[in-house]
Point group: none
Chain length 195, copies 4
DNA sequence: AATGAATGAGCGTTCATTCAT
DNA sequence: CATGAATGAACGCTCATTCAT
């Protein structure tokens, strides 16, 4: 097992999902993006579905790393489901400001990430393992968001994640929607905070 | 054209989309749900894509009818893009209360409708006509929401629709999410209103 | 049985073959050209193949009528496989001149006829009855040509008909071929005659 | 790319076209004749149409090779659109004798080749790429015939090729036609030459 | 480990034909 | 006579997957 090749395939799947969407991302297309023989995909991952599960895990890991790239300690705390001390010191308002700007940056800079997320959701309808993994990852992310914002209302994290997803989904369909205003309003209303 | 058969096919497509999802909803499966020969689908709709467009239109019509089943005048006004006078008389608070409870009722009662909506969004990635029609319908619905709530902020209707979609999407994936709480929070935050 | 409707269908088939070619000339398309319900085609002709056979007969009759529209007696004689007396009086050279100019006129004016002829030949590969009827008609036409030109060499009529067909076939494929020159050369060589 | 399998598929297409005609030569039938899985046809050729184009090229190459199998130099000269010196030395009469006997041999021996040629022409009505390639090949062959017979009359090569095609077409329909006599007459008239 | 030939189930679609009305 | 709804076999093509090399 060459971990390098395995990673190439995962990266190929990512690129293909971004550029082609999941319907055009056949095994051969993915292998093309990965610069790898298509037979290797099954050799390394067993099936297309399992490759997608691996990609989801890879993406999930990256999200957190990107959000807290400057605070590796926070990352460690959060993945252990502990509230980072640095966050605990922030006031609610300061926290909201910090996170919402960071998320905006994140989603602006990592549009591709969002695209893939949508593709995962689409795929989950026909791939049980993808569905299961995605569910698991989203639960984890909700928990982490709860920790970050110190908000015990389960509706809060659910709404936050769902709204971000929904905005992106509608944006994909119709790039003319008021995406910035919608995001700003979400931030404002959810964090009682205005830029 | 036997309108009865045509309707049977649309209903078959609806059922199939709900129970099987769009990927398993092949022409033959849809025809099976409709209790009709598969060739008839093309006889009546020309292509799978055109059937889906017809279904979207049928659904869009039903949404408004279901939301305002007790106020046919409002329906007429809204489809003419006029603000119904009955609404104009309500105060903001009263209006928010009215609509948000109605939407909650709607989405609780018409879960299937929501499921199909998600399938449409998934299909739109590979069916240009579906994409176009869906975009058109969503723009119309946003406009109507703006009229109803008398809110000229484009972010408002965008966020409202997107959040509802997002919540449903996540709910599909994981029926254990705090859907009620998320919806309640959305209502509270977006309409500054609490039950 | 309404002979009028039957004729409308035959005419529809002719038009469709000319404008659409035999592959696009489905029963429904033909019925469209005929301005008639597609079910009637089977009602009157039993099958598509039998319709085509009827069309071949109709065309074959018309060819002779068009060639000898000014000499109805000749027509009668020829269909009885007698050599018309008017022809017997002509000298070989005069005859060749007469017929070759007439054929040139014919094929220039009745390009559509030629097109259909090609379509028949194409169809004959997959429709045994069409093949049989066409064979029969062509034998008759060869016999008639033999009578006209008083030429007992079976190769003569075979070559004449085959060359005309071949030229048209190549012309269909590539309208830039030297069709006039080829026809002129055929006339010159076959009738030892130059314009 | 297994050239062996690719060739098997081309040969299968050839056989199928000869024995079944182009309408019955479905991908699966062709694969059957080739002794190969039907999916491989698309694996190697992309589409049925592209397979047919490949077959045309293969056939076109073989024609020249068969006609000049004993003069490889001529082949080289002709494909470079030069007149072979060996031909230049022949007198007109000798040349006509040489070529017409050779063609007779060719078409007697390679009846199947002729059958396929007719199928190509039929297919060209519905396959644009086939049409284009066939047009191209025929133009090339006309040019080569012009070189061989040193005849600059465009009608000559056009008539020659068209007549041969037409004779074969009629022969397909009705094997009882006077094919030998027609060919003999064509040779005699076109080359002013008698056996 | 890596390649790509080979497989086969399944897709949307077409269309001649049948038949109830 | 006429209509058009309904049927079903067949088509070209796609693609995840298997497997010999």
């Amino acid at each position: 097992m060459s971990e390098k090749t395995k990673q190439k395939i995962i990266d190929g799947a990512r690129k293909s999902l971004i550029k082609e969407g999941h319907r055009l991302s056949t095994i051969k297309v993915i292998a093309g993006y990965a610069g790898v023989n298509h037979g290797l995909v099954h050799h390394y991952f067993g099936s297309k579905e399992d490759l997608m599960v691996a990609l989801i895990e890879s993406q999930a890991q990256q999200v957190l790393e990107l959000l807290f790239s400057d605070n590796p300690d926070w990352l460690e705390d959060l993945s252990q489901k502990r509230r980072p001390k640095g966050l605990a010191k922030m006031k609610q308002r300061e926290l909201a400001q910090f996170m919402s700007s960071r998320m905006d940056q994140f989603f602006s800079a990592y549009d591709d990430f969002a695209k893939i997320h949508i593709e995962f959701l689409a795929m989950s309808a026909e791939m049980p393992k993808v569905s299961k993994k995605l569910k698991e990852i989203l639960r984890k992310h909700r928990k982490i968001l709860g920790l970050i914002f110190n908000n015990s209302n389960p509706g809060f994290t659910t709404l936050l994640l769902a709204s971000l997803t929904g905005i992106l989904l509608h944006y994909r369909l119709d790039p003319k929607i008021a995406i910035k205003e919608a995001r700003a309003l979400l931030r404002e209303k959810l964090f009682d905070y205005q830029l």
